[in-house]
Symmetry: C2
């Protein structure tokens, strides 16, 4: 019984599952993690020890938790494309101008990831929601991105993640989605009318580079407030202006950054 399964490393998977468990349940004891993952305690111990050695996990007496090395790694991922950083000020401006929640969303592995989130008036929870993942078919940003992807890539993504219903108006039919994407492509703007969360509307425009969507700017808010001309025209115009400016700045300058005494 040799049966070479897919070429993949079990130990690595397990280690990342340990990390993921810590992300989910926060500081935890070895026994909790072992139970959660249904692993032998000796095995769990070995994984935690390895991760601890590498400073990806810290321990506070009897509890293990995520190491702050991940903060660095997270920033590196978030700035892996210089264009990602340039969107920040536009997101801030949009939040300011609209008073609603403004976002910059990017596609990775077929999901939408919030890279910048800014809430307009109530400036609470700064950075809240960053890194969060959503399905592309049920959000304005996702549709703005998909509309500018080749059909085959769209199919791949839908095959991988399906079209689960999140709210009353979620599009769950492939054909219907194709039509919607066609509309989005023509208009250059995507809308979300309670498709992701009941009571929440949104609108988004793609940010393109070399004709390919690298992400989307979006604004979201309660459906009673985001409606009419405000939703249909005014907010899209602001976003289009921002997207346009971003696209003109094709000078994606990459700077080395000052490196003083960084410890690795």
């Amino acid at each position: 019984m040799v049966e070479r399964n897919e070429e993949t490393i079990q130990a690595t998977k397990t280690s990342f599952e340990v990390v993921h468990t810590l992300q989910e349940i926060g500081p935890a004891r070895l026994s909790e993690i072992a139970a959660e993952l249904e692993l032998a305690e000796s095995t769990t111990h070995r994984h935690l020890q390895t991760l601890h050695d590498m400073r990806y996990v810290s321990r506070d007496g009897e509890r293990y938790q995520l190491g702050l090395r991940f903060a660095r790694l997270g920033r590196a991922a978030q700035t892996r494309d210089p264009a990602y950083e340039m969107t920040q000020r536009h997101v801030e401006a949009l939040a300011e101008e609209t008073g609603e929640r403004a976002q910059f969303v990017v596609e990775d592995h077929g999901l939408g990831i919030y890279l910048h989130v800014e809430t307009g008036s109530q400036a609470v929870r700064v950075g809240f929601g960053v890194g969060r993942q959503i399905h592309l078919h049920s959000s304005s940003a996702g549709k703005a991105i998909l509309a500018h992807y080749p059909r085959e890539r769209v199919d791949e993504i839908l095959d991988q993640w399906g079209l689960p219903a999140h709210a009353a108006n979620t599009i769950t039919d492939r054909e219907e989605l194709y039509e919607e994407l066609e509309t989005v492509r023509e208009r250059g703007v995507a809308f979300n009318r309670e498709e992701h969360v009941d009571g929440l509307n949104g609108t988004a425009v793609p940010v393109k580079r070399d004709g390919r969507a690298i992400g989307a700017l979006a604004v979201a808010g309660p459906s009673h407030r985001l409606t009419g001309e405000w939703l249909d025209e005014e907010i899209p115009d602001m976003m289009l202006a921002a997207a346009n400016e971003l696209e003109l700045n094709a000078t994606y300058a990459s700077d080395a950054g000052s490196r003083d005494h960084i410890v690795e």
Copy 2:
């Protein structure tokens, strides 16, 4: 030759080294990564494939890069303690009031990690520096933290990382550092006069909880500008006020956060 070495998992280490390489050199081809780590290409391929399967690595045609899942993980690490989040607005306020760079630094594995960084006037590079690591002995924040750690823990840290010189005034002698920490403890404020980078001064105060330092608020800037009463009295007073307020807010409320349709 059995020789059980330290209980640690090689495959996990290698996988994280691959991740670390991607963090360092950015988008890279398989062959580059294999060369960098002196691994067989087949081995490198297996690691990358595993990481890709788990969405911790993405590939853009012929190049691999960090997956945006790390953005989420990074945020989780950065907010692993509710107190960390509460410092953000104080850092912003300090940057605003002083016009200099304000920071909140935490200790992890014996190093200082910047969790919040805000630059005063020139609001460029938002979030730049977050996650960066520094030695504790040569920064004001580090000294503020060490001053409130038990002696044995300080020794552990110094054993682990030593006291490397970074600038002309870096304290490289243990005894001298102990004395300095004593002074810091008495005064409640730490200073850095070109000990970390030539031409750069700084000052910091600890943020304590249950008598233990959980981090430090710091302000840094060019030594010609950060000097005299401004450095010695005025900035420390602002920071002490902020730290005091933080410590009074012992109501470290933990909220569950709204969880809508999060994809894992």
